[in-house]
């Protein structure tokens, strides 16, 4: 048996009071002259022994009553033997408890009773109060280390100051870490408390095995009393690129995650200036999508913010999008200078710019391979090598830097005469660098001397964005009608992460793609002109080229990140600066060191725990560049749908409020509380004592003068 408040046991000394009173205190008797006391003494002889016994019985009753009441105040509790005694206060290895405190941003929801997180903190504090110095305890949140400490009071003080994170971490990993932590302790009793709102995503807990020696698992749900939450769940760009010359279209998804209707004002801002505003009315558990066109006045990184009015859960009310706005979308086509005949890039030029630059916003620039090094590639979104291979090293270096920094390269066929150069310059595996091309040429398709041999595309990757964008309903883009008279036989380079997007009938790659740094390289097995294929003459060519440009000019690496993720910048290692400058939300600038591996320099600015945008600034090869990355919360965390905790972990104890928690804590830590029974027994004894005292008489002494 243990005591919750053992200091009350000091009161046991009070039992001496009735004893002392019994021994010392005598009521002053009235003096009465009486004819004879012979009858009184006769009666006294008969009842004296009984009265003495009654007197002792009353004394015992009074002492026992005091004993019971004092013990009841001390909070005695009984625990069956072998059920993992808490070990009692002061025993360092008695109790080990891990409190998994859900600090995901859904816990920031404010209902009529305050925020869910403040309630969760209060409940965690209740648990910590029952721990004593020496007990091993850990409060595990999304950003705390799974380390046991033996100072619950200090932990409770830290807990008071904690705030919910903006992350949306699942409980599963934390609980697994907690179970591991508990399993490593030497404690006699292990306790796992999970305090969470138990959103539907918590159903992953079903897969966690809550087993362990003397493990008690307690789930403490803190669901909101009201479910009101509007959210901006997405802010995405529809336009493939942003220029100052054409409208930029974004898609905004607004959703009502609660069970009451939401009517709110949705505002779209560019760098804090309102660009568009619209009232949205959302029935419960519904969503709406808005397409908004905005115009950028000047190039550079622009931060778009879509935000609704403040509600119960304000965290998911806005989303950010960093957009790189260019003055124009430049595409550089590098092709050999033809003295006569049709240029190898003729059909590409026509496809990309059928009605002149104003029709698509694409600004084409032509250059020869020898002059590629002189071009400033930063002015272009994509470079197309039309049957040409740059051979000088500066051009190659510039090209690698361009792609690694996020640019796109299209290798639109290589002539048989250039195969060796191609393999040497673009497909060579230089130590420290990945090959720029996804494959190398190993010959031409068809029998030697078989001039009539043609190949057709038999297989495409329907899920690749280039082709999926061209899909109309269930009908795929049909490229099989195009005949390829002259195509290179390509061999995919191992380890280059190459993806084959289309294959010829014989299984040879027709279109390939691989990532290089932050950019992409797309390669066609045949030049895109009529001397090699009739594809440019097919209806599918124009949409294919447009889809290609859209795909290639869409940033390969997302410009948004989620709270809780690291903000990283990757640059080609060649010429990469050892440090880049970084600042968060326009705050203080700090430098971030690089980490080079696999030909890339990675700059990790660390985990971001708030919503906003981080900006990297660097100079590479004498060229200054910046990149903004917007950080948003995980919109799924704002869905106010909750799991049934009792079904998640059937073996766990479930408590819903502070009273139930305290009752259970007393039961777990100390066993079944005996206080009510002792109070009842004490009350019965008080009544019995009163009745008996009234009934009993006591002759205390007989004196003779």
């Amino acid at each position: 048996m243990q005591f919750v408040h053992p200091f009350f046991l000091l009161g046991l000394s009070a039992i001496a009071v009735p004893v002392v009173i019994h021994l010392v205190y005598k009521i002053k008797a009235r003096q009465v002259d009486f004819p004879t006391i012979r009858f009184l003494r006769e009666v006294d002889r008969k009842v004296a022994r009984r009265q003495k016994l009654q007197e002792i019985l009353l004394l015992l009753l009074r002492c026992l009553t005091l004993l019971l009441l004092i013990m009841a105040l001390a909070g005695p509790a009984w625990k069956p033997p072998g059920s993992g005694s808490g070990g009692g206060p002061g025993k360092s290895s008695g109790v080990a408890a891990v409190i998994v405190l859900d600090d995901s941003y859904s816990m920031a929801l404010v209902d009529g009773e305050g925020s869910l997180f403040s309630r969760a903190k209060s409940l965690a504090g209740e648990i910590l109060k029952t721990m004593t110095a020496g007990d091993a305890v850990c409060v595990l949140t999304s950003h705390s280390e799974p380390i046991m400490v033996r100072d619950p009071e200090e932990l409770a003080r830290k807990l008071v100051a904690s705030e919910p994170a903006l992350s949306a971490q699942a409980l599963g990993p934390q609980i697994k870490a907690a179970l591991k932590l508990l399993d490593e302790t030497e404690a006699v009793q292990r306790e796992l408390y999970v305090i969470s709102d138990f959103q539907q995503r918590a159903s992953e807990l079903k897969g966690v095995e809550f087993t362990g020696r003397n493990l008690t698992t307690v789930l403490v749900p803190v669901p909101p009393s009201r479910r009101e939450n509007g959210a901006v769940t997405a802010l995405e760009q529809i336009s493939p690129f942003a220029t100052t010359t054409a409208p930029f279209r974004v898609r905004i998804n607004a959703a009502n995650r609660g069970s009451t209707p939401v009517s709110t004002n949705l505002t779209l801002r560019i760098d804090g200036q309102t660009a568009a505003e619209q009232l949205v009315a959302l029935p419960p558990k519904s969503a709406t999508t808005l397409a908004v066109d905005v115009n950028f006045e000047k190039p550079g990184w622009r931060l778009l913010t879509a935000e609704i009015e403040k509600d119960a859960l304000a965290v998911d009310n806005k989303r950010l999008l960093s957009v790189r706005v260019r003055a124009k979308l430049g595409v550089l086509i590098c092709r050999p200078l033809m003295q006569s005949g049709v240029s190898p890039s003729f059909y590409i030029e026509k496809a990309l710019n059928p009605g002149g630059p104003a029709s698509t916003g694409v600004s084409l620039t032509l250059c020869e391979p020898a002059k590629l090094a002189a071009e400033n590639l930063d002015d272009y979104a994509a470079v197309i090598l039309a049957e040409s291979v740059p051979t000088n090293e500066p051009a190659l270096k510039s090209l690698r830097a361009f792609v690694a920094a996020g640019g796109s390269l299209v290798i639109a066929g290589v002539g048989p005469d250039s195969a060796a150069e191609f393999n040497t310059k673009l497909a060579a595996e230089t130590p420290g660098f990945w090959p720029l091309a996804p494959a190398r040429m190993v010959g031409t398709l068809g029998e030697e001397g078989d001039s009539g041999h043609t190949e057709t595309i038999k297989e495409i990757d329907p899920y690749h964005p280039i082709f999926s964008r061209l899909k109309r309903g269930d009908v795929q883009l049909d490229l099989s009608a195009a005949a390829f008279y002259r195509a290179a036989k390509l061999e995919v380079l191992n380890g280059a992460g190459t993806r084959v997007l289309a294959r010829f009938g014989g299984g040879d790659p027709a279109i390939l793609e691989h990532a290089y740094g932050l950019g992409r390289v797309l390669m066609f097995a045949a030049p895109l002109h009529t001397q090699s294929t009739n594809l440019p003459l097919k209806v599918s060519f124009l949409p294919l080229m447009h889809s290609l440009v859209v795909y290639l000019t869409t940033p390969a690496e997302t410009q948004t990140a989620r709270v809780g993720e690291s903000l990283r910048l990757r640059l080609a290692a060649e010429g990469a600066p050892p440090k880049v400058k970084y600042h968060w939300n326009g705050g203080a600038v700090r430098e971030v060191d690089s980490s080079v591996s696999n030909g890339f320099a990675t700059y990790d600015a660390g985990i971001v725990n708030e919503v906003g945008s981080g900006e990297f600034e660097w100079s590479q090869a004498g060229r200054f560049d910046t990149r903004d990355i917007a950080v948003n919360v995980d919109p799924e965390e704002g869905i106010l749908e909750y799991a049934e905790p009792s079904k998640l972990v059937p073996s766990a104890e479930l408590v819903h409020n502070s009273e139930e928690l305290n009752r259970l804590l007393g039961k777990i830590r100390f066993g079944v509380s005996l206080s009510p029974y002792l109070m009842l027994a004490g009350f019965i004894l008080v009544i019995a004592e009163a009745l008996l005292a009234n009934r009993f008489a006591f002759v205390s002494s007989v004196k003779k003068d």
């Binding site: 012979r38 003494r41 009842v47």
Partner: protein, 296 residues
Amino acid sequence: MRAISELLPPEALARFSNMNLIARWIVEGFISGLHRSPFHGFSVEFAEYRPYVAGDDLRYFDWKALARSDRKYIKKYHSETNMQVHILLDCSASMKFGDPVSKFRYASAIASAISYLAILQQDPTGIILFADKVLKYVPPKSSMRHLREIVTTVMDAEPQQTTSINAALHYLAETVKRRGLFIVISDFYDDKEKIVAGLRHLRFKKSEVIAFHILDHNELKFPYAMLSEFRDMETNERVQVMPASLRAAYMAAVGGFSDDLRKQCSNMDIDYQLIDTSTPFDKVLAHYLHKRQRVG
């Protein structure tokens, strides 16, 4: 006509000090309350005739005179007693108990009244005051002057010492040679065996005995509630008790003592009366008179 109990209730004794007067009031009041003279019907000598009036006792109607003269006469007699009356009055300290009238005061009134009544009947009457021994003995005489001596003796007495009825009874049994009527007025706080032995001694001499067991109302009912220390008025012993808890047992003990005494007296043909000091005097005198008439 109002009874003596109304004219002179026992508690009124506290207001008067002249016991002679009290005795007369008691007796005169008692007699006036009776329908017929208490002095007739004993062993008497004829005195005179008087005309019969309605309501006269027909036992004294002279039927022969009626037959002879057709006149109705009632015969009147002078008493002709020779029964000596001895009153034993307990003067022990315990008799001082009682409020507002002590047991001794009450007993003294009864003794005086019986003496007066007896002397009126020409019975020689004496009194013995006793405590742990015989304190004073006034031999029986039947003159009215002797009554004053008895009353004076009673009035001068002061309760003291312990009770030893046995000593007084044996003393009287040895001293009085003639057969007589012995009236013992006491609270009988003595050893029961000794009391019975003494009474038996008296009965052995063929004397008649009346035992008036005088107790105060508080002795009988024990109405105390608070914790009290009781001091024995005779022995000075003390006992501290919670009266409420002992009341039943105490009353049972007192009742047992009284019943036992009554039974022993009954066995010896002794008239035993338990008298509460609140009992009207006429009731006590009636007991005496009844006994006196029986013994002739």
